[in-house]
Amino acid sequence: MSLMQILLISVFYGAFTASWLGAFTSIVFTQAFAFGWLIGLLMGDVATGALIGAQINAMYLGMTYYGGTLPADTAIACAICIPLAISSGLDIGSCLIIAVPCAALGSIIAPIVQTINTSVWTPYVDKACEESNTMKIKLGAGLFPFLTNLIIKGGVCFICLYLGDQFVAGLIANMPAWLQTSFTVMGNLLPALGFATYIRVIGTTKTLPFFIFGFFLMKILDLPIIGLAVIAFTFAYMILYSDKQLMGGEQ
């Protein structure tokens, strides 16, 4: 991988995850299959990027971000794994192995950016408001936090990619079998954490049984997702008309 490519990916990651234009960009970088698609595009291999992104996404499925906190930063996992896969020929299995620590790394650096926002830029905007200085407000709420994010997140991504090429390949080659197994098993287990969060946030005691219903329906019948969606909506419709009390439930 050339230095230019590393720089391009790092800047792109750092700039994009600053989440300007909130709803339009945050849905992209919180979902790895969309962000992976973009990284693939930058690396000149959309198909590989999209596929690896989708695999990473599946691992963290159900982990949406509520209240602005990211449980795992799958965007940095995409930004590191996909370029390595495309330029160094890392296979998808190995990619998913390094995706987990990368995503964890991302969620470790995110609080640093938020802390700077809280302790530096918000007071800065407060002061600008007292002075009625609209230019300063826009800088303090826009450009400065953007640069903070770009430098910190992009910087970490740059270091990882710069060291990564040789380092990651060597790491995976020398990894004992049990360690590789543990990562694979964990990769298959992690979605459970995502779904657990989902039903914690969205679910109520009244709707929880439907989760178990959907779970076993899929386990036993192995339906396509569309088929499951049709059944689920039919069910919801039926219940809507038979139990008004449930529908007006807790939410």
Binding site: L51, L189, I212, A229
Partner: protein, 276 residues
Amino acid sequence: MTTTPVEYRAIPKNILLKSWFLWQFYNHLSTGYDRKYVNGWTCGCLPALEYLYHDNPDEFKESLERTRDYFLCEQTFGTIIFGIYLSMEEQYANGADIDPNMIRQVKSSLMGPISGIGDSLMGGTIRQILLVLFLSYALEGAVWAAPAWWLIYICCISMPLFMIFLKTGYKYGKEAVSKLLGTPWLKALTGAAGVASMAIMGGMAAKYTSFSIQYSWSVGETVYFLQDKLDAACPGLLVLIILFIYYGLVGKKINYIWLIIGTWILCAILAMIGLV
């Protein structure tokens, strides 16, 4: 107000849209811990406030300081609050008998209920269902899945809702919300969406989570696998048990990083003794 304007200065449509766009643009940019999206809110209000208080720097300064409260809300549905907020500022700027603190209170009191609906309907249901539909194609290698998903989400769901909410919020002021929150169909819709999304997510959990134990024992010549016995009794039981252990732990508000590290340590131990 010190001066009473001769004619009512309503916020023109283009300034309202500009305000909304700036708010969207800055909303997540400087998320902090103490007041969350407050800076984005201030930026979003700027064009409208500049227009309303163009001849009164003191009022402008005060109105800016009014925007500096904690703000955290799902964006799509939060647009209702944004519309209401600007509409109240407009009424106040035009000399209506509104206590400025009321404007702040309306904003902070609406965040909770609106977020509740927004998170469960948008974040929890519409976005997730759309995501799993397209993700299942992407996993099979479809390159078009990601851009199609984004376009459909933005053009068919997000943008129309944004515009509707901005309009209703601004138009009805604070009456709109009590009207909207009180409608039985919204409650029914939220409830139905809750049931459907729970069932779909249950299915997704079954499809994309797996765990099996590699334990076997032999009686005479025959080898028995523990996993086979478990699958025969109840398929996916182990996964469901693990999921509900997570459910309990998430409820205890344990940091995700610890949960992930803990999972890894357990997996490593199980892998070392050869159980997985």
